[in-house]
C-alpha cells in the first residue's frame, strides 16, 4: 500500500515536471492574408525566437532594429529563426507590410490582429520575446525591452 502511494506521488511529480509549456493551437495570418497555425512556427532543426510587437510601440521598433543589425552575424554563429508577430489591430495592421519592407527587416512576419495568440500566451505587455526549442517547447520568455537585452537573448539561443 505504502509503495503504491509512493508510486502515485512520484507519478504526479513526474508528470508535473514533464508538463513543459508549448505553443497553443491558435491561428494567425501571414502577410499574404493566409491563415496559419502558430504550431507551424516550430522548426525541428533550430530554435525559433518569437517576438510580439506593434507598429506604434517604440521599444518594439528599437528592439527589432537592434536585432536586425546583428542577425546575419549571429545566425552564422548559431542557426536560429526569428519570427515577428505584429499585434496591430485594423487601425494599423495594413501598415505592417509596407513598414517591414521599408525597414528592410529580414524576419518572418505574421499578423495577430485580434490578439488571439498574444492572449493565449498570456502576454500583457509588448515587446515580448519567447524562444521555442525544436520540440516546440517554450524555453525562454522575456517581457519589455531595454537596449542591450538582445545580448542576453543571443546567449540563451547559443545555450540551446
Amino acid at each position: 500500500m505504502k509503495t503504491l502511494l509512493i508510486f502515485y506521488v512520484l507519478g504526479l511529480l513526474f508528470f508535473e515536471v514533464n508538463a513543459q509549456k508549448k505553443l497553443p493551437n491558435v491561428n494567425v495570418k501571414d502577410l499574404q492574408g493566409q491563415i496559419v497555425s502558430a504550431q507551424s512556427f516550430v522548426d525541428d532543426e533550430m530554435p525559433v525566437v518569437i517576438s510580439f510587437w506593434a507598429t506604434w510601440c517604440k521599444p518594439c521598433l528599437i528592439e527589432l532594429e537592434n536585432v536586425s543589425e546583428q542577425y546575419d552575424d549571429w545566425k552564422e554563429e548559431k542557426p536560429f529563426k526569428f519570427i515577428a508577430v505584429s499585434t496591430d489591430d485594423s487601425r494599423s495592421s495594413s501598415r505592417v507590410k509596407s513598414l517591414v519592407a521599408g525597414k528592410g527587416w529580414p524576419f518572418d512576419f505574421y499578423l495577430d490582429s485580434n490578439q488571439d495568440l498574444k492572449r493565449a500566451l498570456n502576454i500583457s505587455l509588448i515587446p515580448y520575446i519567447l524562444i521555442i526549442n525544436s520540440k516546440g517547447e517554450i524555453v525562454y520568455q522575456h517581457s519589455g525591452y531595454t537596449v542591450g537585452d538582445e545580448y542576453e537573448l543571443f546567449e540563451k539561443i547559443q545555450s540551446l
Binding site: L4, N18, P24, S92, S98, V100, G102, R119, N122
Partner: protein, 527 residues
Amino acid sequence: MKRILFITFCLFMVNVSFGQLLNGNLSGSFESNNVYYFNDNAIGALQPENKIGSNNYMKLDYRNGNFAAGIQYEAYLGPLIGFDPLLEGNEFVFKYVQFTNDLLNVTVGNFYDQFGSGLIFRSYEERGIGLNTAMDGVKVEFTPLNYLRFKAIWGKQRKYLKNGDGTVRGFDGEASLLPLFGINESSSNIQLGGSWISRYQDYTGTVEDYPKTVEAYAARMNIESGAFSLYSEFVEKDVEPTMGNSNSQEIGNALLISPSLIGKNIGINVNFRCIKNMEFRSEREAINQALLLNYLPALTRQHKYALANLHPYGAMAKGEIGGQIDLFYRLKKNSFLGGKYGTKISANFSYYKNLDVQGSGYQKFLSVGDKILFQDFNIEIEKKFSKKFKTVFTYFNMQYNKDAIISGGDYIINSDIAVVDLQYKFSYKSSIRAEVQHLWTEQDDKNWIYGLLEYSLAPHWSIFASEMYNYGETKKHYVNAGFSYARGVTRFLLSGGRHKEGLECVGGVCNMVEAYTGVSLSITTSF
C-alpha cells in the same frame, strides 16, 4: 487480495487521469496597476474620495491537446482615473471552455472575435483604457476545407462587470478563390468574405414601429499578387434612432479601400474610408466605451511622441470621409545619402472631412462636406551615425478641428511639431535616450516644449524623467519620473507626476479624461 487489486487499479486510474491533467498546460498572467492621487490645484487635478485607484487582472488558461478552458478575474478597487467609474467592483468576468480539431472550433462561455476588419463586428479587450466587449455565449468555427471557413456566434455582450441586455448573433464566411480553382501559388491570393450581425433588444417605449432588431451586412475582398495587395470592405446597417446618433433616421454605411505596394527597401500603403452613421452597440442606451459592437479606428498614424499626441483624432462614427497614405523607405548603406549605416525614412499624410448634408438634413454617403476634421503630415528620418550613436528626427504639421471633434463646432488648431530623439550606447549594457520636442501653435494653449531622459542598464533597470511645459499660455509644468525593473516576464514600474487632461478616442468614440497627479505602481507577470 481482490480489494488490494481494486484499490491499485483505482489509484492507477487516478494517477493516469491526474497525469493527463497535469500533462496539459496551465498558464496565466497577473497585472496590477495602482495610483495614489494627490490634490494639485495648479493643473486642476482633484484627489478623488477614494485616494487610491487600483485595477487588477488575473488570467488562467488550461490547455490539453484539443481542449482548453480558462478564467479571468478583474478587480477595480476603485477604478483608476480615465476608467469608467461603473467598473467599480470585482468579478470573475471571463470564463470559457473550448474544443478544437481540424474541422471544428467550439467555444462556450466568453470569447473575443472579429469579422473582416471589424467595421461590422469586433469584440475585444483594450485593458489600458478599460474597454472590454467580450461576448458571452457560443461560438462555432467550421473549416470544411482549408480554403473555406465559417463562423457563427451567439450571445450577450459584456457591460462593465456584467452582461448587457441585447442579444447578438452573427455569421461570417470566408473563401480563398485560387485553391478553389486548383491554382496553388504562394504569392497570389484572392479572398472573398461576407458577414451578418443581428442584435435584438426588447423595447417598451412609446415610439411606434421602433426597431427591436437591428441588422448589418458586410462584404469584403482581399487580393494579393506579388508586391501588390488590395483590401476592401463595405458595410450597411439598419436604421436605429438612438440618443448616441441624435435619433438619426439614416441607414449606416461604411466603405474601406486599402491598397499597398512593396518593393525592395520601399513600402507604400493607402487607406481610404468613408463612414456614415455607423455607431453600433448591443444596447441602444449604452454610452462611452460600453457595448460597442464594431470597431471604427482613426485611420491616422499613431504617434509615439507626447506632444504629437496632444491633439489625437478619433474617427467620427456619425460621418467622415478621408484617408491616409504611408511611405516607408530605406536609403542603402554606403550610398551618398544613406551614409555608412543607411538611413530610414517614413512619411504619412492623413486627411479627413465631414460629409455633405442634403436639403432633407440627411448626410450623403461618399460626399465631401465643408469642414476639415483633421489633417496630419509627418516625416521621420532615422539615421545612425556610429555603432554607438543613433538619432531620429520627426516633423509634424497638424490641423485639428477641436470643436468639430468634441462638440460639432468649428475651431481648427494648426500646429507644427519637431522632435529630436537621440540614443547613445555607453557599452553593450548601458545606454541613454533623450527626446526634445517642441510644438508651435497660435491657437489653443499656444506653444509647448517637452524633454525626456531615459537611462537603461540591461537586463534589469531603466530610469526616466520627463518635463512637459506650456510656456505659450498656461505656464503649467507636467513633470514625471520613475523607474522600472524587469526580470524575465516580470516587470515593476514605479513612477510619479502630473498628467494632463485629454481626449481619449477609441473605436469611433471619444472620452474626456481628467487631469491627475499621483504616484503609480504597476506589476505585470505571467507564468
